[in-house]
Symmetry: C2
Subunit: 211 residues, 2 copies
């Protein structure tokens, strides 16, 4: 059995944040597939270990953790990689992980789900999400105009969080080329030794038959 | 000059999370009003100290912090109140602060803004947000059925984060009475010594003239 196990699936950028961290740090880990689109994360069995009903969940010995930000922080501590080097850096990293959760991933992931998985077509909801996602991308782009990575000159878990959905090219309906600093930053992440695309890193979760 | 200053305004539940923490811990603090609804947080002057263009921002000596979750964590460390007592508790607190940012506050705050500030009426977007907010409230309610506060038997910064928008009665369009464990928990927060309602704690930001 691997030292770390992670519930995750191919289309989940939130899972990818944790899976990419495990991969980049060379952890001995194995994915646990989860039938997300047919409701597995919302069953009582699943909620017994994650009441939030979400992936990813990390299993490490007796420790069971959900929320990609917490998993990233935990793995940074254990591996000594991609973490802060001072209390001020720690706060800066968390500031961007929170921004990612509240704004960037929140709007981007839902927009992509509607456009590419649920295929709702363009609706008032996609219009709302598109505008909000672009606002968040603009903030990140501003931050990256003067630095290579989000908190400075080296990659941290803040970058691994923020990039979670950004490798799903063509699925979001926003072109990263319109945000040049973000586009350059994404290439720097892609160049990290051991980097893999989400579709090469996590097991397939089948879409529901009605999709 | 007060030891702590906080940019905040009356209708901002995110600001309230930090303001309530400052108040409950008896910090020497003063609010800095911000003309949010007329765009002050999105000006270049404001972005010079917070590129994210959001309130709250905490000023403490040379330290300038945004994101309510980071401010709460910082104040818990400084005051020794409402923080974790172990690494496992620290992770559990962050797990709920992230859930709050990604799901509970994210959907609740935007829904409330549309229904009570922008007065959009019922639209596909309010329908979308209402459903998602109720899903998040249900998760919190489940968690609170078996404990007094989010991570156990005492209040922590996770509670102060999650309750940020929940005292704006009648503005959200979801009745807390439909979530009995949450309703009882909210009364426990209201009973904390020094508790104040957001409208009694933060300066008024005028609504835009077009509203």
């Amino acid at each position: 059995m691997a030292e770390f196990e992670l519930t995750c699936f191919d289309r989940s950028g939130n899972s990818y944040k944790a899976a990419l961290m495990l991969e980049l740090t060379g952890c001995d880990w194995a994915p646990r597939g989860v039938d997300y689109f047919n409701g597995e994360t919302r069953t009582e069995d699943y909620r017994a270990f994650n009441v939030m009903g979400e992936a990813p969940v990390l299993f490490h010995g007796d420790t069971v953790l959900s929320q990609s930000g917490v998993i990233l922080d935990y793995l940074a501590e254990i591996t000594g990689r991609f973490g802060p080097e001072s209390p001020a850096e720690r706060r800066e990293i968390w500031r961007w992980i929170l921004f990612d959760n509240h704004k960037l991933t929140s709007y981007t992931a839902t927009l992509r789900a509607m456009r590419s998985l649920l295929k709702t077509g363009e609706t008032p909801v996609t219009e709302f999400l598109d505008k909000r996602a672009r606002g968040a991308w603009d903030v990140l782009d501003r931050q990256l105009r003067t630095r290579d990575f989000v908190i400075g000159d080296r990659p941290t878990i803040a970058d691994l969080s923020l990039c979670g959905y950004l490798f799903y090219d063509g699925e979001i309906g926003i072109e990263i080329a319109d945000f040049p600093a973000m586009a350059a930053w994404r290439e720097r992440i892609r160049a990290l030794p051991g980097w893999k695309h989400p579709y090469d890193l996590m097991p397939v979760a089948p879409l529901p038959e009605t999709a």
